[in-house]
């Protein structure tokens, strides 16, 4: 085994400091704030918060709507993933489903709400087609649809990933044994998937529970915990202690969820060798899932199509003639282009800094015997647990009055920390798969550790690096929850600017900006995918 050298320690130090200053200390400070009342330390704030009817109601509402959304999302995601892996559905349709389901990920959640308003509202496109509103979109219904749209991609990707590792030969065996279909389904698909299903459920629940964008746009009079937190911090009467208390309360379900996830982990098992055997054709099954997939994808496309219709019509809903006027107006407004540039700057530097930190963290954790490297796993677990709003708020408390307040750097640091887990795990996975003897070989050839990293490891991990870059960039473009507490006039981002435009009910501008975000994200994503696949192809040759 390799010895820890100086270089490794030098790299480890700044990363530890980064997480200390931008994760641990702010959170502890916020916790401290929630216990302060005047100059004394009490739990009075918690008692008051729990006694407040409004907060209790909001908590319950949040719980209710997130629970229902998580049930629906989990079922839908399972069905769609099943259609992808266990039916002989048309290949092109499978591709379409994949694109359609994951498309909403490229947009800020706050946009979903406005899209829903323009689809299901009194003057919505669907309402126009049907003659009357299908459902009242404000409140519970709107939140539910919004949350499902928001969490479906994540749940779907999770399920899809797991299903890849299910051995399809067992289906054949089960069939030869003349199992009933229900028994076959249970043993060959459902049982191996239980861990993932539970995981997807908990994840979607937490995502819905802590999202701010959707309730901000379609919440109406239906109070949820995220909007209560916003009101306490940025509303008419600012109550910092209450804000701190609410965000600590918001942490509770998240922490419980993570605990449950680790319990569920025991249910995950992997087949040693996954063999791909052809599926038997089953008309009824295939047709049912084809219809289901088509319906799901069409609904998503119909809902989001409003985003492309409204900004290009002259005076929705009175004058439907095509115009580029709105787009030109947005382009002509310096404020909006400035905000767009801000978003690009933040997304780009977040991606660069984030990739560096996630890569080095994973490298130290996986490929060095460094003492204390497991703290990095701990950091990744915390970043996965803490909701964006809570992290953003803790920054607001901790950095208030410092020179970092209102800078781009604080937004970038927030985004890097908040989205750390996934890129870190991506890098870890890739690094673990590499031959563990490279460093030793490198040392025998008189290369320093760093040289080995640069000459051998980096070139081998390049595709993953691009995927990490794209993940960070996309999420930095769309995140709203935490940054609403951190932006200042000069660092306003597109996603937070949408919140401001909402105040003036400037929906066309909102849609135009959303289209900007979508296009930017598409370009970056396709670019990164292209580089990745090209490299892989090259390797195969």
């Amino acid at each position: 085994m390799l010895k820890t050298n100086k270089m490794v320690k030098i790299l480890f130090l700044p990363i530890v400091f980064f997480f200390l200053f931008f994760l641990i200390v702010p959170l502890l400070y916020m916790f401290w704030q929630s216990l302060k009342k005047g100059n004394s330390i009490t739990i009075q704030n918690y008692v008051e918060a729990l006694q407040s009817v409004e907060i209790r109601e909001a908590f319950l509402n949040s719980f209710q709507v997130s629970f229902v959304a998580a049930v629906i999302t989990t079922c839908l995601a399972f069905a769609l993933a099943y259609a992808m892996h266990f039916t002989t559905m048309n290949q092109h349709l499978k591709k379409l489903v994949h694109i359609g389901v994951t498309l909403p990920m490229l947009l800020p959640t706050i946009t979903y709400g406005f899209v829903l308003l323009y689809t299901f509202g009194n003057q919505g496109i669907l309402t126009k087609l049907l003659g009357q509103p299908l459902v009242t979109i404000y409140g519970f219904n709107g939140l539910l649809i919004g949350y499902v749209l928001y969490t479906l991609p994540v749940a779907f990707i999770l399920m899809q990933n797991s299903m890849q590792y299910i051995d399809k030969r067992f289906l054949l065996v089960s069939m030869l044994m003349h199992d009933r279909p229900s028994r076959r389904f249970y043993h060959t698909v459902f049982r191996p998937m239980i861990g993932t299903i539970g995981g997807a459920f908990i994840l979607t629940f937490i995502l819905s529970f802590t999202d701010f964008g959707i309730p901000a746009s379609v919440g109406g009079g239906y109070k949820v915990i995220a909007t209560e937190l916003y009101q306490a911090m940025l509303g008419s009467i600012v109550r910092f202690e209450q804000g701190a208390v609410i965000s600590v309360l918001m942490l509770v379900p998240a922490v419980l969820g993570i605990v449950m996830l680790s319990v569920l982990d025991r249910f995950n098992f992997q087949y040693k060798h996954v063999s791909q055997s052809a599926l038997a054709v089953h008309r009824l099954r295939d047709n049912t899932f084809t219809v289901l997939s088509l319906v799901c994808v069409s609904v998503i496309f119909i809902i989001f199509s409003t985003m492309f219709i409204v900004p290009f019509t002259k005076g929705y809903p009175y004058d439907f003639s095509f115009t580029l006027e709105h787009v030109q107006n947005v382009l002509a407004e310096k404020n909006l282009t400035r905000v767009y540039m801000n978003s690009l700057i933040v997304a780009f530097f977040t991606a660069i800094l984030g990739v560096c930190i996630a890569f080095v963290s994973a490298l130290l954790n996986v490929r060095t015997p460094l003492k204390g490297r497991s703290t990095l796993d701990f950091a990744s677990m915390i970043t996965n647990t803490v909701p964006g709003m809570v992290l953003g708020l803790s920054y607001l408390f901790f950095f208030n009055g410092s020179s970092l307040k209102g800078t781009f750097f604080i937004i970038i640091a927030y985004t890097v920390v908040h989205f750390f887990t996934t890129p870190y795990l991506m890098a870890k996975n890739s690094l673990q798969k590499m031959d563990p003897t490279w460093e030793v070989t490198g040392e025998l050839l008189k290369d320093s550790w760093l040289q080995t990293v640069i000459r051998v490891i980096l070139p081998n991990i390049r595709p993953t690096i691009f995927q990490m870059f794209s993940y960070y960039f996309l999420n930095a473009m769309v995140t709203v929850s935490g940054v609403i507490f951190l932006v200042s006039t000069k660092t306003m981002l597109v996603s937070t600017r949408i919140k401001e435009l909402q105040h003036f009910a400037k929906y066309t501008d909102i849609f135009v900006l959303s289209i900007f975000i979508l296009c930017t994200n598409l370009i970056v994503k396709l670019g990164c995918d292209y580089i990745t696949t090209n490299k892989e192809k090259f390797k195969e040759m």
Partner: protein, 328 residues
Amino acid sequence: MMKKSTVMMFGTVSSAIVLAACGGAEADTKDQVIIYSNADDEAIEVMQTTLDKKGYEGKYIIQSFGTSELGGKMMAEGKDIEADVVTMASYFIESAQTSKSMFVELSSDLKPLDGGSTYALPILGNVGSIFINTDLLAQKGLPVPQTIKDLTKPEYKDLVSFPNILDSSTGWLLVQAIMSEYGEKEGKQVLADLIKNAGPHIESSGSGPIKKVKTGEVAAGFGLRIQAIDAKNEGLPIDYIDPTEGNFTLTESVAVVDKEGDEALASEIAKVIATEARADLLKQYPVALYEGEQVEEKYVPKYLKKWDTTLTVDLLEKHQTFFKEAQQ
């Protein structure tokens, strides 16, 4: 050898950090005046065009807020607020000055009608009224409302929109009208019925209701009178109705935040807003605020009324509590 590669690795990591920090530093440069404003977008547009015409282009940034958001910020942060100039409901500026003394003297030879103050200049006045979408009203077979109380009738269920007093000062105009006409007890009932009728259409922005009435989301709304007049002039099926409970008014003012001597440009800009932009603002918000100003007949509401005591944040909070109680 080792050194070279060390430098390389550190180069990449640190340059990213430095670059990012530079981005932050750049945003800190102190050459632009930051204006926080609660004004509607029409008013902000007027301010922007005037300032640009007067050669201040690129020397300022306007950041909009809801009245309550901005109010909360002023009260919580005082002088530490990011803004150099604030345009805001006058009662809020007064209260903030009393409790935080956060504004500097703003001398001018202007003569406001209400006497004015040494630290703020009024820039526009708002009048509240009811407005309706005549098409939708006819389509639903609803009578034309004459009073705010009319809107509490069950046939207007889910067809009324008004601004929330918790977020918007326009919402306060509505509550003032109801309270002065019906008193505490009956007033609370009227408000409760209205809240029930509006359902999801209680807006955080003062300009929310007119937009909903324009798109036909709802048939009637309460908001600024001038917005309805403008919509009608545009040829939309909109009409405005002065409620017999009264057209109440509010003024908004501009003030300069105390930045320990660094207020020269901010004061200049504030004065340009109060003087040069005033002509266009008067056109948008036809309420005379200074001696010698005149407005056309049609802009003068039928039942112009004023709350009988001075408007303060304390009074607003009292009315907000009243609204919350009606919500229960």
